[in-house]
């Protein structure tokens, strides 16, 4: 199991050019500074950090939306460097992404059936009937009904829309799924449903997840390995238990200290401190 590494990232950098103006010189911003990681098949890597730490930039590189400036990314044995080689259909099938905002990531004028069929239309030679069958199967798999096929995104709740976004992402049967804050915009109870769905799909399809989040309680629940990023650098990387039980870096410790504690002991302690 341990040698079955599906995602291998070595020393990846991403710099953006900031264009100059009348009063400002052109400069460069390095959003990701030398990230290296390995993810084994069927496991979940959680990437944690505050806004601006480069975690979404990393997600964009892994899902081939953006090219890395330097360093190597290898997914399921296939080297990825889209700035030089472009994207082949084979590469596209390996990775899919689910975004944070289920309201913004679906086209309001596209029926759900078409949303799900579009990746097949673009990447395969299936007939319309085959595509339709697969889309209906997928709806059932993510806990929706066949009658949802002909409906539009506005007719769904936030949780249902996130199910649709997940269904679209796994239509191509990817090996790796990048989840960029998939439950941050959802209510607590809906969040639990989506996390359960992700766990079921992972087991069923042997999916590998890169799960980007700022919510440590979710990360603790879902992750096998945890990576903490701070200003583009990896400050902590290890198994979930190592990171949560024995954080090494100051930033990780600050992060843990800042996370609200909802257990009875902490509440009792707070009330006692207040009464004093």
């Amino acid at each position: 199991m341990s040698d079955d590494v599906i995602l291998k990232v070595r020393d990846v950098y991403r710099t953006y050019d900031i264009s100059g103006g009348l009063f400002r010189k052109a400069s460069q911003l390095t959003a990701v500074k030398g990230v290296s990681l390995d993810v084994e098949r069927g496991t979940t890597l959680a990437v944690v950090g505050e806004s601006g730490c480069g975690k979404s930039t990393l997600a964009r590189m892994l899902s081939m939306i953006d090219a890395q400036s330097s360093g190597s990314i290898e997914i399921d044995g296939l080297p990825i460097d889209i700035s030089r080689t472009g994207i082949s259909k084979e590469m596209r099938q390996k990775v899919q992404i689910v975004f944070q905002n289920p309201y913004g990531s679906l086209n309001p004028r596209q029926k759900i059936g078409h949303v799900l069929e579009e990746p097949l239309l673009l990447n395969t030679d299936m007939s319309a009937a085959e595509r339709r069958d697969l889309a209906l199967q997928m709806l059932e798999k993510v806990g929706l009904q066949p009658e949802h096929y002909g409906r539009y995104p506005h007719m769904f709740s936030g949780g249902q829309r996130q199910r649709i976004a997940i269904a679209r992402a796994i239509m191509m049967k990817p090996k790796l799924l990048v989840l960029d804050e998939p439950v941050s915009a959802l209510d607590l109870s809906v969040q639990a449903q989506i996390l359960n769905l992700l766990a079921d799909l992972q087991e069923e399809m042997n999916l590998t997840y890169v799960f980007i989040s700022h919510d440590l309680s979710v990360v603790r629940y879902i992750a096998d390995k945890v990576m903490v990023m701070y200003f583009g650098e990896v400050v902590e990387y290890g198994t979930r238990d190592e990171v949560f039980e024995n954080p090494q870096h100051d930033y990780t410790k600050t992060l843990f200290a800042a996370t609200p504690k909802a257990d009875v002991e902490s509440i009792r302690k707070r009330l006692a401190a207040k009464a004093a």
Binding site: L188, S189, Q193, L255, A258, P260, A262, I267
Partner: protein
């Protein structure tokens, strides 16, 4: 006498499909020096109640209540002008999106000065001194230099600090914070919550926290109201709510917290609803 007392509040919205009940007979009361958390999911009516009390709902809303009193003053019969004297001065509110709540065209100093001028009649040098004092109180570094900064030049956390400064500018007796930290990072959230609680303790004002985050409730509240689909499910002090929740929905909500997960799957609210909980 409680600071704010609302009895049997009902809010209905006229929609194309007929009236929609957003709130169905809920009671609220807050004392001075108390932190009340109203917690619920989207659509539970947690924000609507406070907006109704402040008269901020659109015309399509029909508001009825048996009692709606702030320090004994009946808010139901108040004229718009009389209401404005109370709102913004005695009762003030902080919203979720700090950057959207500030006007991008004016400096932070100007916007803070505006509320001082309107409610307290402070102008010129006196107003400026008070603005600097407020910015210092909410922990903005270099407050004097920040007077001429525009909202886009500040981070989300700093903008929320400015919003808090604006809300406490007239030393209100009641502060309502509607999801004040939802848009912020965890580390910044901690700072803002600490700041709110500290200001509340120093001034002895009443504080209402509207939130969907059980963690925020656990970290700030004295008393908690749990709402679901426009009805009150449970009201209890914070410790008994977490230790021994009575209502099935509260139990469902607490067990859906990932940190309370026992076993492989998270229980969801619908599991409880199917079991006939509520």
């Amino acid at each position: 006498m409680p600071l704010l007392e609302i009895r049997n509040l009902k809010v209905e919205f006229d929609t194309a499909k007929g009236p929609f009940k957003a709130l169905d007979g809920v009671d609220y009361s807050v004392d001075s020096g108390e932190v009340l958390a109203i917690v619920g999911e989207s659509g539970s009516g947690k924000s609507v109640a406070m907006l109704a009390m402040m008269g901020l709902l659109p015309d399509s809303a029909t508001i009825t209540a048996d009692k709606m009193a702030f320090e004994g003053l009946d808010l139901r019969t108040l004229s718009a002008t009389a209401r404005r004297k109370v709102i913004g001065k005695e009762i003030s509110m902080i919203f979720q999106e700090p950057i959207a709540s500030l006007n991008p065209c004016f400096t932070v100093g100007f916007q803070l000065g505006e509320s001082l001028k309107t409610h307290m009649g402070l102008k010129g040098g006196k107003a400026k001194d008070r603005v600097i004092e407020l910015l210092t109180a909410v922990g903005i570094p270099d407050p004097e230099g920040r007077l001429n900064a525009f909202p886009h030049q500040m981070s989300g956390g700093q903008c929320q600090r400015v919003m808090i400064a604006m809300a406490i500018a007239c030393s209100p007796k009641l502060l309502i914070a509607d999801e004040p930290t939802t848009a912020l990072d965890v580390t910044i959230q901690k700072q803002i919550l600490d700041l709110l609680v500290q200001l509340q303790q120093d001034s002895g004002m009443g504080l209402i926290m509207i939130t969907h985050d059980m963690g925020v409730v656990a970290e700030t509240a004295d008393r908690v109201i749990v709402q679901y689909q426009g009805r009150k499910m449970e009201e209890a002090d914070v410790l008994s709510l977490f230790e021994n929740p009575q209502n099935a929905y509260t139990k469902a909500l607490l067990s859906a917290l990932p940190e309370n997960a026992t076993g492989d799957r998270l229980p969801t609210v619908s599991d409880f609803a199917e079991a006939g909980g509520f």
